[in-house]
Amino acid sequence: MQNPYLPYPVRIDEIITETEDKNLKTFKLVFLNPDDEEKFSYMPGQFAELSLAGKGEIPIGIASSPTEKGYLKFTVNKVGLVTTCLHSMKVGDIIGIRGPLGRHLWDTLKGKNVVIIGGGFAFTTLRSSIIYMLDPLNRTNFKEIHVIYGARSPGMLLYRDELAEWETRDDINMHITVDGTDDPDWKYNVGFVPTITEQKAPPGNSDTYALICGPPIMIKFTQPVLDKLGYTHNHIIMSLEMRMKCGIGICGRCNIGKEYVCKDGPIFTLAELDNMPKEY
């Protein structure tokens, strides 16, 4: 019997400090056993449990894309015991990884316009999705791609080099924004994500899906904007956060209604969420 609780051992290959507050670091992980990489076959939007021996596990969205071979990337915010310990680790240290966990909805998105709306450090799995869709082998599977991504300030944006590169391309429409800045050279938008969404996002129709990931307050104010733009609830896809342990729908704590957020989510359409207790 394969033990779904047993992590694959991985080595920290690179650590990048992403934001000016130094609370977000990206960890590039390489499997110790190359076979494990085969077994860890994932899609953007899924997550994994990072396992620190002696400390415990944390569920983190996968920031790399399956089109990027040879490594996995996770961008981790320093919050609790395990993430604090992870932030103090160095290149070469050994940790574990379990997954991929959670579902994805790429079958639904095939052949559609995709509008990605992200805020703050929740952009990680959205980065994975963008890289995946922009891959030459996949790009033809999608129509227009829009990205609205906001952070408090320019220094709090994740993956700034990649954002700049995407800005120069013509197969993706970037709408980067910050809440405010005193940088006179800032050449992108200033304003909250809901406002920019209202200005830049294409109207909703049966061929267009919105993927939202961000802090609750952003989601709260973006949702009415999408309603106004004509997005139906089954064309709005969101990600929930819950305290998790097992990640495979067994330990019980991320239960909402009859769903386990770890296994039946963490991605849900708003139409699905409408029928679930609002307990997240």
Binding site: M1, Q2, N3, P4, Y5, L6, P7, P9, L32, S51, L52, A53, G54, K55, G56, E57, I58, V79, G80, T83, D93, I94, I95, G96, E241, M242, R243, K245, C246, I248, G249, I250, C251, G252, R253, N255, G257, K258, K263, N275, M276, P277, E279, Y280
Partner: protein
Amino acid sequence: MKYINIDKKSWASGLENLYENYRLFGPVKNNKHHVFKELSKGELPDLNYLNTLLSPKSIVFPQSETMFEYSLDESKEDHHILKEINKDYSPRALIGIRPCDAASFLLVKRNFDTPEYKDPYWLSAYEATIFIGLACSSPCSTCFCTSAGCGPFHEDGLDLLLVDEGKNFIAKILTPRGENFIKSAGWETEADPTAAEKIIKDMKIKAEEKIASFVSTDQLKNKSTTRLYDAPFWEEIAFACINCGTCTYACPTCWCFDIQDEVSKSSGLRMRNWDSCMFPLFTLHGTGYNPRNTKVQRVRQRFMHKLKYYVDKYSDGIQCVGCGRCIRLCPVNIDIRRVCDIMNNYGSRSRLET
């Protein structure tokens, strides 16, 4: 169907024989209560009991269980890599388990044995266990098994059903594993199937007649989840609750657990421990946000999970076998029978007083 007569005089010697092939577990009186524990050689289970204080779920799902071990010593080659632990999954027999508790294992199995993931610890222990039931001739006043999908002579989940007939037990063999068990004990006297059938049937009817409490569950499936969730009665139901974990720990069908690491110098263990939806920590985010921050929310989660979410998820009744332990042990007398009826009748014509 095959029936064996076990003369109580040969009970002890049979167990002695079984001890060679099985780890034996059974109810034993410990101070004031009956509890399930592993029997030492020569120790007999006390089958003269109403029901055990706690359910026997811990035989398959211990309150604390190690999952992995590892070394933190960086001079070791495999440091920080988690390793599986060898565990004793040799055959074990759970003797004298009540039919309600036996049924609970089938309910819980749905959680640990899913199409996508198998929990190796629970399943290995479960598969190593053979379930020797003891039919229940004197149900307690808090028992409502017959309206919770089982009953005092229920056979699901059992390999063998023992019926106490005074001087002897009639053993009804339900599976090949049960048959092996009987053989291993050396109990050979076959009973006349028709007569045995008749005796058991009569006793079963008598026992079922003694069940005095019931829940109504027929409407639960039809109710809207969000309407039940938003119903006004939860504040009143939850008022007395002190948010201890007694109900969940005593319950045979509660399965939630926590995973924790513990270390000693340079060696470490990953272990899992029972957890409870009654505890605020259960859902507390790292950021300090807690989606189930109030007592009312937590009480609602427990009952909604057992009586609605589970019903919707598996379409096979409630996540409860009617053993009545939570009713007997709740320090403040929150009664699942009452809650179940309130939920079942919510929005119907004859709404119960809330």
